[in-house]
Structure formats: structure tokens, C-alpha cells
């Protein structure tokens, strides 16, 4: 809110004053620059190995999905046997869906008849 009160001309004038003031510049801006320049020998060894250890490329969608879905594949259904009522394959400990629907149909027709 306060920034809006200043006109653009005023802010430019303040910037010019800041640049022209040598004491402010030398203390805040150039001092760190001179520090880094004094120890380039120490940094250059680890510069390529550690400090820039960042992925070179974005991981593709395919790569990401393969990684995240690893070990989560659907399991084979092995608990199967044959239905004693109709001889078709059904899951163990579960009623045969064909027989169940057949019997329900019979009940429905018996009710309407």
C-alpha cells in the first residue's frame, strides 16, 4: 500500500542516490563478490560434483509411473474350482454367479406365475 503512494519519478531518484553512494555499495554489494573470488580454488573442485548435483532432465511420465507402480501389479486369481451345480469355473468359497442368477430368475418367475 505504501509503495503506491510514491510516484515512479521519486523511486528512480532514490535508486540513483543509492548507486552514487560509494560507501553503501562497497559494503553491501561488492564485499561478498570479492569473498567468492578469493577462494575459487576450494570451490572449483566440488563445483561440478556436489554443488551442481541436480537432475539433468525432468523424469518422464512413463519413468515416474513405472517407478511408482513397481511391485503393485494385480495378482493372479488362483483360488478357482468348478461349480458343482453347473460345472463352470468359479472362485472358491464364493457362490457361482451363473447358478445364483439362474435361481433368482426362477424365484422371480415363480412369484409372477
Amino acid at each position: 500500500m505504501a509503495a503506491r503512494l510514491f510516484s515512479p519519478a521519486a523511486s528512480i531518484a532514490r535508486w540513483a542516490q543509492f548507486v552514487q553512494n560509494p560507501s553503501v555499495l562497497s559494503q553491501t554489494l561488492f564485499q561478498p563478490a570479492t569473498l567468492t573470488l578469493t577462494i575459487p580454488g576450494l570451490l572449483s573442485d566440488i563445483w561440478d560434483s556436489i554443488l551442481r548435483a541436480v537432475p539433468k532432465k525432468k523424469t518422464s511420465h512413463m519413468k515416474k509411473r513405472h517407478r511408482q507402480m513397481a511391485g503393485k501389479a494385480l495378482k493372479d486369481v488362483k483360488n478357482l474350482n468348478t461349480c458343482p451345480g453347473c460345472g463352470q469355473i468359479k472362485r472358491a468359497h464364493v457362490l457361482c454367479p451363473h447358478c445364483v442368477s439362474d435361481i433368482k430368475k426362477q424365484w422371480a418367475t415363480a412369484k409372477t406365475a
Binding site: N81, T82, C83, P84, G85, C86, G87, I89, R91, A92, H93, V94, L95, C96, P97, C99, V100, I103, Q106, W107
Partner: protein, 198 residues
Amino acid sequence: MAGGAAKYRHLSRKSSHRQALLRNLVTSLFKHESITTTWAKAKEAQRLAEKLITLGKKNTEASRRRALETFYTPHDIVPKLFGPLRERYAERPGGYTRVLRVEPKKDDQAPSAILELVDGPKDMRFNMTARAVARQRSKGFETLNELTVTNVRKVTQFRKDGVEQLEQAIQQLGLEEQPKKPAFRKVKAEENEGDVRA
């Protein structure tokens, strides 16, 4: 769950919601004799249904009041509970209902089950056993396998004229099956002889 093992399934509902659900389920169960719901709901409704039939068998004024306040349509169901159902289960020492797993019905693939009143007109195990025996006979085997024998016993033990009724159901199936059954299915069925279990 914190505080030890849960004594009952909470079914992801608060108490009042759960009570309402179970009352709805048992009302439907006693109305239709058989309901299909998720397995967990079926098991919880089974507890309540068994208790209600016990009330029916007690047949006192107090038990009648308890039944009246449980059902949502008591005036249709309480006479049935204290009449035909009480007579049907007079000899049976508990185990008036049955939960049978079926393939998932809901689109979230939750395990489903049929909850049914034993020895009623919609007894799924009775019908399945009749089918199993009919098929066994059509193939020319006189001896049944272990599990079918157990099921025959379960189905006929307390049913009034159980053996005769089962025989009648088997005969009826034999009459119906012959024109309906295509020839190729018989060949396929003979290939799959092996572990036959219900």
C-alpha cells in the same frame, strides 16, 4: 482400534446411523426372506436377525414389544415373526440365518454376500445343493462328494419334510434342464472333473 478389539463392526457410521441401517436391513430380510448386501453389513444384520428370531420364539408380551420397536414396518412383520417363523424354527437350536459370499455386486468391488433365512422359500443353499445333486446324478454318479453330503444334511436337518422337498427340487431341475442344456456344455463339464466344491 484403540481400546482393544472392536466388539462389532462400526460400518463407518455413527451409532444412530448404524442402528437405522441395521433396522432397515432386518426389516427387508424378514419381508423378503433373503437380501444381498455387502458382506460386513450382512454379518452385522445377521446378529440382529438371530436375536429377533429368538424374541419370536420366546413369544412373550415383552419380546413382542421389543420386536415392535425394532422393525420399521412392524405391523407387517411382527405377525410373521411370531407366527410362521416361530413355528419354522421351533426345533432349531440357533442358526436361523445364513450368510453366503457372492461375487461383488457394488461397483466399488466390495465383497458381497447373501443374507437369508434358513429353510425359507428363498434358501439359496437348498437350491444350490439340489443343483449339485441333480448334476451328479445326471453324470451317473450315485455317491456325492464330502461337501455336498454336508450341505444335504444342513439343508434337510430341520426342514419339515426336508428330504422329500429336496428330492422334489432335484426332480424338478432334472425335468427343466434336459431341453435347456446344450450338448457342448456337457462335454466341457466332463473335462473339468476334479475338485468340485461349493
